[in-house]
Symmetry: C2
Subunit: 347 residues, 2 copies
DNA sequence: TATAATAATACAAACGTTTGCAAAAGGCGA
DNA sequence: TCGCCTTTTGCAAACGTTTGTATTATTATA
């Protein structure tokens, strides 16, 4: 008789009504203390475990939030999830995770499934710049927070790292080390992550009076192999461009770039200086002390959670077009610098 | 009128019964083709989205499986989740993720919450060797699969890497490179991951007729700092022990050990050879070509999924005491070797 | 002791589905 | 036209809760 006992069953056994049992267990409403005690005893005796599915149906809230992202095995996303999960769990919410493997079709399919399950909110790292995959949620007024990439939708809530600041600090770091010709490897021409990181690089160069040499800008696709190829292209035209440093804007591409540099028989930082992006393992453990700009992932997750909790509490859901940009860090040997605090909220 | 339309609503609008609408939409049962068409039209028109919560209640199955693990930001776990998620999604199941931050109290608390939500199964990387936190599931006969650590419970289903084989191959690799005195850094004295990895190391030494020097066995706690400390302890007694190689049995500890070695002014592999464990980023991208044993995480996730699907289909749930041990890989420069296939199933 | 006020409990509807069974509609041969 | 079989549809219960309202039991007040 274990495991399938319900309010009804307990009520029958005790010869009282279901509603009394329910109220006795939920501490909420007034029930005679004596009754409550007895009900609690019985509940324990019969191994009663409340059925959250039924509760969800009745309350029309599942206390569940969905996270849809391109690749959970990227430490970047895993850490965001961790930060988010932590704050949500503290408030009784759990996380459903969907990994799209960077495919837009899966993305919309999963989001559709999640909507059917009536999750209370969606956190989305979209691979589709338009943000269109989120429409079921958007239309129904269910909260959505975009992370990483900023979608076209103007009214969407977004929380990301401040990519411009990140690139600025990386570039400035190299400038202050005396470099004048600095190459950059970007991950995307169309996504905001790429666009903004380029922008920061430009701004830093302008600010110090340097020209931007378009020949020094190469593109990959955030994956390792593309970093390798991009670096090779840069090295091929090194004679003309004469760059002495390179800034690579993603972890995997950084590894690829390092390989290309090594294969070319060059050393870091002897022949070429390098600043990487989000190099987590080398950062925690830095066997080779690569300077790297990092995103505060857990903090992003936490902020997303806090925003969501706020949205979920105050019933007036819907998008408010909040854009929050968290400050990146730079790891330079043993020094860790928080760059700046920009939590710009526009409404 | 968007977003909150139900079967009932559609039925009312069309002046037919709810059950007909339900059957028309679920393709299952016989409905006049004409009616079906009309119902589908209407469903589209009113933006009907089935409510899976209600469905779950009725079917008493949520098509959701829970994954509880100590740290999702560990690539090891993230990849298992990815592999698992992929196969489950293909069958309409979604994943609820819970990160215990390595705390046993959180673990049981989360599992309790998950049981209330009536997830269909539990995948658990426990931090509590007893496996006691899984009791709600175990008692109710809901499928549970343990990963990574093997719990005390004999009848539990477990899928892990073959740790003995992993250690054997790592040790043999060093032996075949001519090393005789090989140190080892383990992560745990009590968990099976630690015990088995030690066992493999022992077996490899015995097999080649070497003595096991207890002085060469050091323990950490799988974290980076402990690898650093353990390596320092080893280096301190290097005069007496005269080891020429070290095998470190976790990713983070390997990074720590590398740091200790470097701080001692030694080089790898010049002064000391090293085999690491699960070095993912260096493996994908291997800027420094560390030899490392790796676990086939996505394959583990996939196997877990397949086992679960089988359990969920054939109603006779419950634990069967299946133990599957997947074969590890060794990455040695550019060579990748699958070690062997041991899918031992004992019933 | 009757009556009003309050505390405790019970009733029943609702949340949105699925599904066994009964009822109705349609088709066909006699 | 009637009866019978088949196809299609409808009814109603069930899944396990919550919750507004009605009812009953208890106590205090006059």
């Amino acid at each position: 008789m274990k495991g399938n006992s319900t309010l009804k069953y307990i009520a029958q056994q005790m010869g009282i009504s279901v509603s009394t049992v329910s109220r006795a267990l939920n501490e909420k409403s007034v029930v005679k203390e004596e009754t409550r005690k007895k009900v609690q005893e019985m509940a324990k005796k019969y191994g009663y475990v409340p059925n959250e599915v039924a509760r969800s149906l009745q309350k029309s809230s599942t206390e569940t939030i969905a996270v849809v992202l391109p690749d959970i095995s990227e430490t970047f996303f895993a850490r965001i999830v961790k930060g988010l999960e932590n704050v949500m769990m503290q408030h009784g919410y759990m996380i459903i995770l969907a990994d799209t493997r960077e495919r837009a079709d899966k993305e919309s399919q999963y989001i559709e499934m999640l909507y059917r399950r009536r999750v209370d909110a969606l956190v989305l790292a979209t691979v589709d710049c338009s943000g269109a995959s989120a429409t079921p949620f958007l239309e129904s007024g269910t909260p959505v927070v975009f992370i990483d990439n900023i979608p076209d939708i103007v009214s969407a809530d977004v929380i990301t790292v401040d990519n411009i600041a990140a690139s600025k600090v990386a570039t400035k770091y190299l400038l202050s080390a005396g470099h004048r010709k600095i190459a950059v490897i970007l991950g995307s021409k169309t996504e905001t992550t790429g666009i903004e990181r380029l922008e920061g690089y430009r701004q830093a160069l302008y600010a110090s009076g340097e020209e931007v040499d378009e020949e020094l800008i190469e593109y990959g696709d955030y994956k390792m192999e593309s970093g390798y190829e991009a670096m090779k292209r840069l090295l091929e035209k090194r004679r003309e461009t004469a760059f002495s440093a390179v800034y690579v804007t993603s972890e995997k591409m950084t590894y690829g770039a390092i390989r290309a540099i090594r294969e070319a028989g060059l050393t870091i930082p002897g022949d070429l200086s390098l600043v990487g992006f989000d190099i987590h393992n080398l950062m925690d453990d830095r066997p080779q002390m690569i300077t790297t700009v990092c995103q505060p992932e857990e903090a992003i997750g936490k902020k997303v959670g806090e925003l969501l909790l706020d949205r979920l509490k105050n019933e007036e859901n819907g998008q408010k077009g909040i854009k929050m940009r968290l400050s990146p860090f730079i790891y330079e040997g043993d020094t860790v610098k928080r760059i700046h605090e920009t939590e710009s909220k526009y409404c």
